[in-house]
């Protein structure tokens, strides 16, 4: 801050600044580990660019208010909202927008108290813990319960609003939730909506994106799909997408977990045989085909018939 200001005719190097911030490293990681999510990545890139340019402007002594970076992530289940929020903290830290770059992840329970006078200290404590980093409020729409007018959620929202305004330099608040519920939440809390500059919508994944996600997930756990299993998986995904309660990457993760179970069971049933390392890491077509979606056309744990009232 006390650094000497540059003269008006000085030249600065945006490229050098960019490289020094090591943001490209995080961005590359983001591109590598997160499949799809085009609008999200674009917005993150824009924010990064703004912060970098801002930093250069400050070198010349051109002042502007620090931009508000409170964000709202909406999207269907399993579209990567939490993952991106965690990554966001790292990016903002690299850019020097937040000082520590840690994430405090909370839900309604952590913010709202149980009796009169309990909520304010509880919310304040969470905010204090998040200072210098990112406060991530998952399922933020639960904070406001219109059906109960004595609900303490409103009090928590008011304290949050105040801190989002006055302690703008100290913390970044990221809300996340399902689109329709968040829209209703903002409708009843217009103050919250206007204090959040970035409303980012997470699109659903396409089948081919889900396939690459599946591969990434398996690689992380040191599994691989045999070529025929990969074929079976690409048949499985559209089938699963057409069934109710499809939650994008999360459903895929569950399906893969079940495939791992079946793989273990298959290996166990061939006990007489000696196994190689390849056997242990390969998921075969049969492990995918064993899914009840292929066998019975419905999900595990799904009721026999959906009763309509």
């Amino acid at each position: 801050m006390d650094a000497e200001l540059l003269p008006d005719d000085a030249v600065v190097d945006l490229q050098a600044e960019f490289e020094a911030s090591q943001v490209d490293e995080v961005m590359a990681k983001l591109d590598r580990e997160l499949v799809g999510l085009k609008p999200v990545k674009t917005r993150i890139r824009e924010i990064a660019a703004l912060l970098l340019v801002d930093r250069l402007r400050r070198k010349f002594g051109i002042s502007a208010d620090t931009p508000t970076l409170h964000m709202n992530f909406t999207g269907n289940p399993g579209t990567g909202k939490t993952t991106v929020a965690l990554r966001m903290a790292e990016i903002l830290h690299r850019l020097g927008y937040v000082r520590e770059g840690h994430v405090v992840s909370v839900t309604r329970d952590d913010l709202v108290g149980q009796y009169v006078g309990h909520t304010a200290p509880k919310t304040r404590e969470v905010i204090k813990r998040a200072m210098g980093g990112v406060l991530f409020i998952d399922e933020a729409y639960y904070l406001y319960k219109p059906e109960n007018e004595r609900d303490y959620g409103q009090e928590s929202i008011e304290i949050l609003l105040q801190c989002m305004e006055t302690n703008r330099d100290d913390l970044v608040v990221i809300l996340a939730g399902y689109k329709d519920k968040m829209d209703r939440f903002f409708l009843s809390n217009p103050g919250m909506r206007s204090r959040i500059a970035h409303h980012i919508d997470f699109p659903d994944y396409r089948p081919d994106e889900l396939e690459s996600i599946a591969e990434l997930m398996l690689a992380e756990q040191n599994y691989r799909l045999s070529p025929s299993a990969a074929g079976a998986l690409s048949e499985y995904i559209p089938l699963r997408m057409s069934l109710p309660h499809f939650s994008n990457a999360r459903s895929i993760r569950n399906a893969l977990d079940r495939a791992r179970l079946r793989q273990a069971n298959r290996l166990f049933s061939q006990r007489g045989r000696h196994l190689t390392r390849l056997d242990l890491i390969t998921i075969e077509e049969a492990d995918i085909r064993g899914s009840r979606i292929f066998v019975e056309g419905k999900l595990e744990g799904e009721p026999e018939k959906l009763e309509l009232a």
Partner: protein, 144 residues
């Protein structure tokens, strides 16, 4: 007092120095947080050196990463108790320590009247000495 020209109460760290600025306080707290000590804010109107246990302002703050939250509490406490002593204490819970590792005053009353020396005659012409802060002359609650 000749040795203490400002007539300031000297307790804890940095008390012979001019009052710390907020930036300096932040830097000290940052050091405490770096060592994972729990920082708390305390206040009192009785500056007697044997008055060890001050009132706590709010709860001790655990798991903080950044001094901004504590500075916010300090400023709240200063606003609520402008005429009292406010100090910041950093407690180390590591086994074997379990004690405050840092403690320094961050707010003082506008005037610090100092201490009265009381002499007591004892058996065999021996003399006992004690000190009483002028600040506690009036009963608690009526001190400004």
């Amino acid at each position: 007092m000749m040795t203490n020209p400002g007539n300031k109460v000297t307790q804890g760290q940095f008390s012979f120095l001019p009052d710390l600025t907020d930036t300096q306080i932040s830097a000290q707290i940052k050091y405490a947080l770096k060592n994972h000590w729990a920082v708390s804010v305390e206040y009192t109107d009785d500056p007697h050196p044997r008055n060890t246990y001050w009132e706590m302002y709010g709860n001790p703050m655990f798991d903080l990463k950044d001094p901004a939250g504590i500075l916010m509490e300090i400023n709240n406490c200063r606003k609520a108790m402008p005429n009292m002593y406010v100090r910041v204490t950093a407690f180390d819970s590591t086994k074997g320590w379990e004690a405050p590792r840092m403690s320094f005053i961050v707010n003082r009353p506008p005037s610090e009247p100092g201490f009265r020396l009381v002499r007591q005659e004892r058996d065999g012409r021996s003399q006992g000495y004690s000190i009483i802060p002028y600040a506690t002359d009036r009963p608690e609650g009526e001190r400004s």
